[in-house]
Symmetry: C2
Subunit: 302 residues, 2 copies
DNA sequence: GCAGGCTGCTGCAAAAATTGCAGCGGCTTA
DNA sequence: TAAGCCGCTGCAATTTTTGCAGCAGCCTGC
């Protein structure tokens, strides 16, 4: 593919951090690549890359350029799949960056459903914390982001958001299951396993604990929701999760959950978003539309 | 400029309607141009142009492509001026499509003001009726559109809108000037000069006349607001215009105006907009920001 | 109905560009 | 201080692009 070839070369260099490195990944010599850059820099009248001892780094002009270039590359992908659509072919590729809570149940099911309709559409799924997910949008490594309690940078454009009240998760024989909703103070008398600091659920719990002037005293902290789920079963202690992360099918027998009283812990919000101003590839746009329907049927839109 | 060269070639062919014609305007041979198209069509696996006896026409795949291509070209212009901005240079180019009412006073003054700050920024101003103005956005011949009572296609993204009540315009000695606001029925007893059908002011008057079950009976119809203004002076008859079209400086002595009672004729709306999803060139974005401030200071935002 | 003029397209050779090789000097690290 | 990166350059080989001339196809006007 010759069209936008130089653009792809620049993208590769920016990613590799060196011309020789990028050249290898592109299967060309560093000479050719080097001279392309020099030619483009000559055309623009500005250095795109700063030359360092160990490679190159985007200059401030390069930062501006790379964003446009990635947009162009992604745009051409979209055009190609739109053109393929004209011939009735529904092919394409969707890249998603999402929080852990989406992994056990919701996204696998949604992707399976989508791929049943459009088997030629492929998916890339990247697990990213809320900050990294937004960065992935900005550098075009993800078309869509599904994030719980995101940082919400200026470039994040919200497609849909739904309420996700925090639930306490425990084995069905746990004393806490007797109530419909549980108070934070009820939980404190039991050992608990909680996510580490950067996660949305922990964030909400911390704020709640602070305002109630209590301390959480977790016996287990982990950055893996899967581990938290399993340790909670194994040790018969309580953990916390949002509804979308509760796999109501496979966990039916093993675990159960109760929402925390919202006077103690306010409901969190799950955001689906994309990069502001970007036109998504057709497949991604269609998948986002499907997710919008599914999310708004299952949860309260806000 | 080699980067996006093929893109510019395709744009030229689409505009010229023939390869040979475009080749001439690009100062290359038709052979070179022809082969570029063939190569790109080969890459994409689709015909971009339909071959006709008297030239070429974009195929449906080509229509999809050309939009992306024009976006890329415009994007590179924006990048270049952003990069120039880094060096402190404020250069760039702004293209505007607007209704007639903007011509006599508002835009000349605003552009002059902007160019005083940024003398290196150049402007293109195209007079376009409300439908053509939106088309100009879609094919990237205009960055900004200022339209009174626009058709508002899906691709039109509103930046700002302000209320523009229709005014009756007349010489200062006209009997109608006695009242603060005039009723439509008052006007009917005087000869009047009105714009032709496609214009917003006429549209509003027609609707008003219809609902009041009266007839306008204009003695003069014209598609030139300038002519309407002059004939109204020369013949001492009434005409109609929106506030932004009333040049309160030069017309001070010659003419005066009174708003029509809004029970008869509802206020129209002036829209400033751009192409949805497009990132404007820096200069255009800055100029739009200036216009937003000016418009919202002068008129009622709605 | 048949030139004349326009179109896009192609074979071939010339021109221009891109590329690869080898090697230079600069920098960091061991 | 030596080894190992890095980006960059002169030169030659290679590839790509371009221009010329000429082809067939289509429409228009005489």
């Amino acid at each position: 593919m010759r069209y936008l070839e130089t653009a792809r070369y620049i993208d590769a260099i920016a990613k590799a951090g060196s011309i020789r490195g990028a050249a290898e990944s592109l299967s060309i010599t560093s000479t050719a690549l080097n001279r392309r850059i020099l030619a483009l820099e000559d055309e623009l009248g500005v250095q795109i890359f700063e030359r360092l001892a160990h490679g190159v780094r985007l200059s401030s002009a390069g930062e501006i350029l790379i964003s446009a270039i990635r947009n162009q590359i992604s745009d051409m992908e979209r055009v190609k799949s739109q053109i393929a659509d004209l011939a009735g072919e529904r092919r394409g590729h969707v890249t998603i960056a999402c929080s852990q809570a989406l992994l056990p149940y919701f996204l696998p099911m949604q992707i399976a459903r989508y791929r049943k309709e459009h088997p030629k559409v492929t998916f890339d799924l990247h697990l990213r914390d809320r900050e990294a997910a937004e960065k992935a949008l900005a550098d075009y490594t993800a078309d869509l982001a599904l994030v719980f309690e995101p940082v919400r940078m200026a470039e994040f454009h919200t497609i849909l958001r739904v309420r996700q009240p925090v639930h306490a998760v425990m084995t069905p024989d746990h004393p806490l299951t007797e109530k419909k909703t549980v108070r934070l103070s009820d939980c404190l008398s039991y050992p608990m396993a909680v996510p580490t600091a950067p996660y949305g659920v922990r964030h909400l719990l911390d704020i709640a604990a602070l305002s109630a002037q209590v301390r959480l005293n977790p016996v287990i902290e982990s950055d893996s929701f899967e581990f938290l789920r399993n340790i909670a079963i194994a040790e018969n202690i309580i953990s916390f999760q949002i509804p979308i992360g509760l796999n109501n099918v496979t966990m039916a027998g093993m675990m159960t959950s109760r929402p925390l009283d919202q006077r103690d812990v306010p409901a969190g919000v799950l955001y689906m978003g994309q990069l502001r101003g970007r036109t998504l590839p057709v497949a991604s746009a269609r998948f986002a539309a499907q997710l919008s329907v599914a999310l708004s049927e299952l949860y309260e839109v806000c």
